[in-house]
C-alpha cells in the first residue's frame, strides 16, 4: 500500500510547518483580550511605547471593523464593549517578546461589567438582556413528519429523557498561528488554513482591499479537526492588520492557553427526547428538542446545528418525528465546526434514550435498536428514500464477532466487589456530502490536473492535507486512472494565487465529492495524454442527478449518501473512585469501498479516541463565562495509557457515485464512541447516564443516587 509522501519529512520535523517559517524584520504580535465575558469599555490606557513598537486598536483598521465568519456580525477588535472573555481588543507588535509583555503590563482597560448570559437556560429565559438579536436565537431549524402529539396520546407508554454534553477542544497539536507579509500593494498571509479560500475574503474586509490583493499560502497543518476552518479568519485578519499598520511581516502564534481559551470548540448541548411506544413495544413517535450553546455571534453555529437536526434520529426509522433545533447565543467564545459536527451530541442522546427505553420495556437494548434500524428503500427523517443498501446488521455482526459483545453483555457486573466491568455498543450513521442545494451554497468548486511537459502530473486545488491523507488518496485515484506510478503525481500545499478555489476541506466532502472530480479529470487527461507539451484539465464537482431538496420544508435528500458504523466499548469501573478505564474498543464501518485501507483505518482509530476522550475525560467548563480549564495540565486528552488497542473492520458496500466506490470516513467514527462508552458504564453499574463527559464526580453522584433509591 502506498506510503504517504510526507511521511519521512514529518518524521524529521521538517515538513513545512509554520514553525519553520520566518521572515527578515518580522515582528511578533500579541493580542490583548477581554478579561470579562460582558462589559462596556469605559477607557483604555496605553503607556508610551518605544520606537519600533506598536499598539493597534480598532481605529487603526483602514476598512471595516469586521471579522467575517459566515455572517459579518462581529468586530475584529472590540470598540466600546466586549461580549466574551478572550475577545480581542488591542494588538501589540514589536521585535522583542519581552518588551511586548512589558507594554501589556502597562495597559489598563477600565470595564463597566454587565450581567452575562451563561447557560442555555439564561439564553432562553430572557431575564438578562439578550446577546444576540431580541431572543438570543442564532439559528433555528426544525421539521415534523406525521403527527407526533397525536401518536403520544395513542401510545401505550411515553418516555422522556434529557441529555447534556460539554465543550470539546479540538486540541490539534500545532496551535493556531499566522504570518502576514506586506508586499508592494499586496498582502500574503501564511498559516495552517483548513479552508484557505476564505482567507482573502476575510482579510479584504478590514483592509478595505479587493480580494485579489490578498494571497493565502497554506503551510503544513499540524492537525485541525474542524478547528482551523472559520477560526483562522480572526488570526489572519489580526496579523494582516498588524502588517498593514507596521509595514513589516507580522507573526501571531497562540500558545496552548490562548488557543484553548479563545478558539472554537464543540458546542455544548442540551437535548430533550420524548418517545411514544405502542403495544408491540415499537417506537411510533419521537420528539427531539436540540439546543446548542453558542457564542456571542453567528459564527458557524447554524451549520453545526443543521447536521444535528438532519441526523438527529440516528440510523433509525420512526413514522412520526418532530425535531426542533436552536443555537443560542451566550457570552462565550464562538464554538464551531468540530469533527462529527453536531451529530456526536445527538447520537449520544438518541442511542442512550433508545437503550433506556429498551431497559424500561425489558428488551435487550441492542435488539430493540436493531429492530428500528433504517433499511434500503425506507424514508429518512427528512423523507428521503434510502437508495443504497444499509448494512447495519452486518456491521453489528462484525463488531459482535470481534468483541464478544453479546456473550459479555450484562454478565460482568458481578465480577468483582470493587471493580465492575461492562460493555456497550452504539449504532450510528453520518450523512455526507451535504446536498449543495441545501446547506452548501451552490458555486463552482473546480480543481485542475496538469500534465507537465516531462510527463509528471500535478493536482492543483485548495483542498488541504490535515494529516488525514487526502493528498495520498487523490494521487492514488489519479494514478489508478492514468496508470502511471504514484510517485509521478504530486499535490502541494495550497496557494490561492496558484490554485483554483475548490472551497472546502471539511464536512467529509474531500474523498467522495472532490476525489470524484480527480477521477473524472484523470479520465479526460488520459484521453488527451498523447497531445504534446503541457495539458490542463479543469473539473468541477458534480452532484448525483437524483437528489431533491426543499430547504424551506426541510424535505428531501439532505445528504448525497450515508456512512454507517457501530462501535463496542468495554470498561472497568473502580467502585471506590468511580474512575472508568476503557479496556476494549471494536468498531466496524461501511464507508463504501475505501481507497486506502491504512489511511482509512487511521482515521477510524483517531476519531474513536477523540470520541472517547469527549465521553470520558475532556472537561472544559465555564464558570461565569470564564473557561476553567486552559492548559493541557487541566484539559486532559487521552494518552496512550488511557486507550487499549483498537480492532476494526470495514464492511464493503461500494457507493456508485464515489471514486472507486468510496464514501466518507473522516467524521463518522467520532460520533458513536461516547454513546457506546455511556452504555458500557450503564451496563457495569446498572445506572442510566445522561451527561458527557462521564467524570468520576458525575458517576459518584449517579451511584449515590442509585444507592439512596434502593
Amino acid at each position: 500500500m502506498t506510503v504517504r509522501d510526507d511521511a519521512w519529512a514529518k518524521c524529521c520535523g521538517k515538513a513545512g510547518y509554520m514553525d519553520e517559517l520566518s521572515f527578515p524584520g518580522m515582528l511578533h504580535v500579541m493580542v490583548v483580550r477581554s478579561q470579562l465575558p460582558r462589559a462596556g469599555i469605559r477607557s483604555v490606557h496605553v503607556p508610551a511605547v518605544a520606537s519600533g513598537y506598536y499598539v493597534i486598536d480598532s481605529t487603526d483598521i483602514p476598512g471595516r471593523n469586521v471579522c467575517a465568519i459566515l455572517k459579518q456580525d462581529f468586530p475584529l477588535l472590540a470598540e466600546d464593549r466586549v461580549s466574551f472573555a478572550g475577545q480581542a481588543i488591542l494588538l501589540i507588535a514589536g521585535p522583542e517578546r519581552d518588551r511586548i509583555l512589558e507594554i501589556n503590563d502597562g495597559i489598563r482597560i477600565d470595564y463597566e461589567p454587565e450581567e452575562p448570559v451563561i447557560t442555555i437556560e439564561d439564553a432562553e429565559e430572557g431575564r438578562i438582556p439578550p446577546v444576540f438579536g431580541t431572543d438570543n436565537v442564532i439559528a433555528s431549524i426544525g421539521f415534523e413528519r406525521g403527527d407526533v402529539e397525536k401518536t403520544f396520546i395513542e401510545s401505550a407508554r411515553v418516555f422522556e429523557d434529557e441529555f447534556r454534553t460539554g465543550y470539546q477542544e479540538h486540541l490539534y497539536l500545532e496551535t493556531l498561528r499566522a504570518i502576514a507579509v506586506p508586499e508592494e500593494g499586496r498582502m500574503t498571509v501564511y498559516g495552517p488554513f483548513q479552508i484557505p479560500d476564505i482567507v482573502p475574503v476575510a482579510v479584504s474586509i478590514p483592509l478595505g482591499w479587493n480580494t485579489d490583493r490578498i494571497r493565502a499560502r497554506v503551510t503544513t497543518i499540524g492537525g485541525a479537526f474542524g478547528g482551523k476552518m472559520e477560526t483562522t479568519t480572526q488570526i489572519t485578519c489580526l496579523s494582516a492588520l498588524a502588517a498593514y499598520v507596521t509595514q513589516r511581516p507580522c507573526s501571531i502564534v497562540y500558545d496552548r492557553e490562548e488557543d484553548i481559551t479563545t478558539t472554537s470548540k464543540r458546542h455544548p448541548s442540551r437535548i430533550r427526547i420524548k418517545s411514544g411506544v405502542d403495544q408491540n413495544k415499537r417506537v411510533r413517535a419521537v420528539k427531539m428538542d436540540i439546543d446548542l450553546l453558542g457564542g456571542a455571534c453567528f459564527g458557524s453555529s447554524a451549520v453545526v446545528l443543521d447536521s444535528s437536526v438532519k441526523m438527529a434520529t440516528g440510523p433509525y426509522r420512526f413514522e412520526n418525528v418532530s425535531v426542533r433545533g436552536r443555537a443560542l447565543a451566550t457570552n462565550h467564545i464562538m464554538p464551531g465546526a468540530t469533527r462529527g459536527f453536531g451529530v456526536v451530541q445527538t447520537t449520544f442522546a438518541i442511542e442512550t434514550h433508545m437503550s433506556h427505553v429498551a431497559r424500561q420495556l425489558g428488551i435487550d437494548p441492542l435488539d430493540f435498536r436493531l429492530g428500528h434500524v433504517l433499511k434500503q428503500g425506507d424514508r429518512t427523517s427528512t423523507d428521503a428514500v434510502l437508495r443504497d443498501q444499509v448494512k447495519i446488521p452486518e456491521i453489528v455482526k462484525s463488531v459482535d464477532a470481534m468483541s464478544g459483545y453479546r456473550a459479555k453483555r450484562g454478565r460482568q457486573a458481578g465480577s468483582d466487589a470493587t471493580v465492575k466491568k461492562g460493555i456497550g455498543i452504539a449504532l450510528y450513521s453520518f450523512g455526507a456530502p451535504h446536498t449543495v442545494k441545501g446547506t452548501l451554497r451552490a458555486r463552482p468548486r473546480p480543481l485542475i490536473l496538469r500534465r507537465t511537459g516531462s510527463g509528471d502530473v500535478v493536482i492543483l486545488t485548495t483542498i488541504t492535507e490535515l494529516g488525514q491523507g487526502i493528498v495520498t488518496v487523490f494521487r492514488e485515484i489519479a494514478s489508478r486512472i492514468l496508470d502511471i506510478p504514484i510517485e509521478r503525481i504530486s499535490m502541494d500545499n495550497p496557494d490561492t494565487d496558484r490554485d483554483p478555489s475548490t472551497l472546502g476541506t471539511g464536512a467529509s466532502l474531500g474523498v467522495t465529492l472532490f476525489g470524484k472530480s480527480v477521477e473524472r479529470a484523470a479520465r479526460k487527461l488520459k484521453d488527451r495524454w498523447d497531445e504534446p507539451g503541457e495539458i490542463e484539465v479543469m473539473e468541477d464537482y458534480v452532484e448525483p442527478g437524483y437528489l431533491e431538496w426543499d430547504d424551506k420544508r426541510v424535505v428531501g435528500d439532505a445528504f448525497h449518501t450515508y456512512s454507517w458504523g457501530a462501535v463496542a466499548v468495554e470498561v472497568s469501573v473502580d467502585l471506590l473512585t468511580c474512575e472508568v478505564q476503557v479496556t476494549g474498543v471494536w468498531a466496524a464501518h461501511d464507508i463504501g469501498r475505501p481507497i486506502n485501507d491504512r489511511l482509512a483505518e487511521g482515521q477510524v482509530d483517531g476519531a474513536l479516541v477523540q470520541g472517547l476522550g469527549f465521553g470520558l475525560m475532556e472537561v472544559l467548563e465555564s464558570k461565569e463565562g470564564i473557561l476553567q480549564q486552559s492548559r493541557l495540565r487541566d484539559y486532559t486528552i487521552p494518552t496512550m495509557r488511557d486507550i487499549p488497542a483498537i480492532r476494526q473492520f470495514f464492511v464493503i458496500n461500494p457507493y456508485s457515485e464515489g471514486p472507486f466506490g468510496a464514501k466518507s470516513v473522516g467524521e463518522i467514527p467520532t460520533i458513536g464512541a461516547a454513546a457506546a462508552l455511556g452504555e458500557a458504564v450503564a451496563d457495569a453499574l446498572g445506572i442510566e447516564v445522561g451527561r458527557l463527559p462521564i467524570t468520576p464526580e458525575y458517576l459518584l453522584d449517579l451511584v449515590r443516587a442509585k444507592e439512596a433509591s434502593s
Binding site: 514529518k10 492537525g223 483505518e601 486507550i643
Partner: protein, 158 residues
C-alpha cells in the same frame, strides 16, 4: 552568561540568559525547528530531545541546565540507524497523520527501544504515555514501535 554545550555532536557556545527555555534556544538561536512545541509545560512530549542520551522535554529545561552536556534533537537523531528503523516503521505502519507529534514520538520511542529491546504493548503504552498524539489514536504508533524494536534485533540491512 556564557553557556557551552554540545548539540547534535557539535560544540555550541552561547551568550544568553541561562533561564531561557532550552526549546527556544534550540529553535530560535540554532534553527533546530524539528523540535516542536505543543504545550510549553511538559505535558505533550512534542519537544522531546535527548540530554546525555536520556529523553527530556526541552520546554521545561532551562538552557543553563545543559551546560557541558550533550543534547540531541531530531536533526541529529536522524543520522542514526535507529532513527531510520523507527521512522520506516512509522511510515509503513501509518503511525503518523499530521506529523506534529512525530519527531518527539520517535525520539521517545527510540529511547524506549534502546532501554528495552523487546517492549510489549503495555510497556510501550506506559513508556510513551507522556507523548500525546491527537490524530492516530495511538494504535498504529504502538504497532510501529513493536515493529521497529523487532527490526533492531535483526542485523541492519543498511
Amino acid at each position: 552568561m556564557t553557556i557551552a554545550f554540545v548539540v547534535n555532536g557539535r560544540p555550541v557556545v552561547l551568550e544568553t540568559d541561562p533561564l531561557r527555555r532550552l526549546i527556544d534556544v534550540l529553535r530560535e538561536d540554532l534553527g533546530l525547528t524539528g523540535v516542536k512545541e505543543g504545550c510549553g509545560e511538559g505535558e505533550c512530549g512534542a519537544c522531546s530531545v535527548l540530554i546525555d542520551e536520556r529523553p527530556a522535554l526541552a520546554c521545561i529545561v532551562a538552557v543553563g541546565a545543559v551546560e557541558g552536556r550533550h543534547v540531541v534533537t531530531i536533526e541529529g537523531y536522524q543520522e542514526r540507524d535507529l532513527f531510520r528503523k523507527v521512522a520506516s516503521a512509522f511510515s509503513e505502519t501509518g503511525a503518523l497523520q499530521c506529523g506534529f507529534c512525530t519527531p518527539g514520538m520517535i525520539i521517545a520511542a527510540g529511547a524506549l527501544i534502546d532501554a528495552c529491546s523487546d517492549p510489549d504493548e503495555e510497556t510501550i503504552r506506559e513508556a510513551l504515555s507522556g507523548n500525546l498524539c491527537r490524530c492516530t489514536g495511538y494504535n498504529r504508533i504502538v504497532q510501529a514501535v513493536m515493529r521497529a524494536s523487532r527490526e533492531t534485533k535483526e542485523p541492519s540491512s543498511l
